[in-house]
Amino acid sequence: MAIDDLRKLVKRAGKTGDFIIQHVDRCVGCGNCVKICPVGAWQLYQKKAVIAKDYREKCVECGSCWLSCDADAIEFRYPDGGTGVVWEYG
């Protein structure tokens, strides 16, 4: 199963504002978030982690990027109430 196929197995509702904020100046380019993100929403670009522009269509709201970042360069809240992933078979 390709990672895109996994992403297709997630339903989403409504539109949310940003809920992951990067502090690029603090990023040390360790790649933790890139490796850990279960849906591959992060990439390394010029030695800095960069989140996909369309991360709101990929992210499954686990918060791993926030917790795996030792440099505190990632802020994570959640999508606005009533939006984001909807799991029917959790």
Binding site: L9, K35, P38, V60, C62, L67, G81, W87, Y89, G90
Partner: protein
């Protein structure tokens, strides 16, 4: 003027709903918040409900959602070709403390139905449920006491006590200053895929008397579960964040690929005509220490937010519900006494410590070391799978049995240092901490056996011996 109530509960998962239900039953004006459009929308982790929940919570007898009673558990050992080399299957033990414990392991249910069942109980008890509401922050007074919450719409709502049941990440616990975000060695990322399978097929191939939970271990991924659910099953695994970070570890996605490609899982999928239906990922606190700072000025933490999943298997739902009840009871007592500061809410800690939660945390480091060192350390299975596989070599028809028997024993002799080291590292510390008087007990049993030794043993084990 902000809205004012007695108790605010952040999160309508199992812990939050029980907290809200208990608070409302005590006559407290209670609001509980859910960021999903309805409870269960954000619950990623399907659950096995342990039989003791039916003894702990009277309302469980009314649970009427589809469920599977799990009557078998199985462990499958794979090698680095992802083929199965050894497996065992067992039913509930006669050692179970009560009849249901001897009948089944767990009742497996999908979370949306279960979470809605619990939330409805809270609403029926008089608590107000506000869905599609993300709690963005806490409100503090000048002295830093938590006096309420702020929603994502900017509304401020005041409560005498705030109960944070906002799950694994618990932003509320961090915002309240009770702790920093979990360290990567305190929390696991669980990746899980739900498969659907026609119920008729499940019952034709397996059937209700054989509903089962499986654990697959291999050198190529951390211990993976397959839990049968009504009309499907969950496949997933977890690993501590710090371990994903290590250079030798694969990414969660790569592990999942290995899991799905493994031969026994492919067989399981094909046998049941299963298809992947939903993908989940979520965090799960798994602490090797006793949870700290579970209360503060005006605030209590319950369930995953507090770090209560058990140190052996990270079982969380039951402990979330138990702690939710304690939190609401403590809040009611503190409000009645007119002291909702940390000193008024302190009895919460004594309550959970004296409960089964506290009992689970008597050996946290030893359990976590055991689990992390065996089931969550894939390379161990390069060694352990063949050792287990050799167990029945004496019965092989490949050569005269006595020759195979000797060969097997010689092999175990060679592996003895590894096995002893293994026991010394992972089992002895657990037994010591748990106060199992290992040496003395074994000596006593041996002494008794020597003293009562007769031609035929009392257990009759020599009954079938030829003259």
């Amino acid at each position: 003027m902000p809205e004012k109530v007695d108790v605010l509960v952040v999160g309508a998962g199992p812990g939050g709903s029980i907290a809200a239900k208990t608070a409302a039953e005590k006559g407290l004006k209670t609001i509980f918040f859910e960021r999903g459009a309805q409870p269960g929308d954000k619950a990623a982790s399907g659950c096995g409900l342990p039989p003791r929940m039916w003894r702990e919570f009277d309302f469980m007898k009314d649970l009427d959602i589809p469920s599977y009673k799990i009557k078998y558990q199985a462990l499958h050992l794979l090698d680095d070709t992802l083929g199965e080399r050894f497996s065992m299957r067992w039913s509930p033990s006669d050692l179970g403390e009560y009849p249901e414990a001897r009948e089944y392991f767990q009742v497996n249910v999908y979370r949306p139905g279960f979470d809605r069942f619990l939330a409805k109980l809270a609403v029926n008890a008089g608590a107000e449920l506000r869905t599609s509401t993300l709690i963005e922050n806490v409100l503090k007074d000048d002295a830093g006491k938590i006096i309420g919450v702020v929603t994502d719409k900017g509304e401020k709502i005041e409560g005498k006590v705030t109960i944070a049941a906002d799950g694994a990440t618990s932003k509320i616990a961090c915002q309240a200053g009770l702790r920093k975000k979990w360290r990567p060695d305190e929390i696991t990322l669980v990746v899980d895929c739900d498969f659907s399978a026609p119920e008729a097929r499940i019952n034709e191939i397996i059937g209700p008397e054989e509903y089962s939970n499986h654990v697959y271990v291999s050198p190529l991924y951390p211990a993976t579960y397959v839990a049968m659910m009504p009309g499907g099953f969950h496949v997933g695994f977890g690993q501590w964040l710090d371990r994903y970070k290590s250079a030798s570890a694969l990414s969660p996605y790569e592990y999942l690929q290995n899991v799905i490609q493994s031969k026994p899982l492919q067989q399981f999928i094909q046998k049941l005509h299963a298809t992947p239906r939903e993908f989940h990922a979520h965090l799960l606190p798994w602490l090797s220490h006793v949870p700290e700072n579970t209360f503060g000025d005006g605030i209590l933490l319950v369930g995953d937010a507090a770090g209560f999943p058990c140190p052996l298997e990270a079982e969380g739902i039951n402990y979330a519900m138990i702690s939710g009840r304690f939190a609401a009871q403590t809040a009611a007592e503190a409000i009645a006494a007119g002291n909702t500061s940390a000193t008024g809410l302190q009895p919460y800690e004594a309550k959970w410590q004296a409960s089964t939660i506290g009992e689970e945390f008597t050996t946290p480091k030893e359990w976590v070391d055991l689990w992390a060192g065996i089931f969550f350390d894939p390379p161990q299975w390069n060694k352990l799978t063949p050792i287990a596989n050799n167990l029945m070599f004496w019965a092989s028809w490949s050569a005269p049995h006595i020759r195979n028997f000797k060969r097997e024993l010689a092999n175990y002799g060679e592996n003895l240092p590894f096995l002893l080291e293994f026991a010394k590292t992972y089992l002895v510390p657990l037994m010591k901490k748990a106060g199992v008087p290992l040496g003395r007990t074994m000596l006593k049993v041996a002494w008794k056996w020597l003293k009562t030794k007769k031609k035929t043993s009392p257990t009759g084990v020599t009954g079938g011996m030829r003259k």
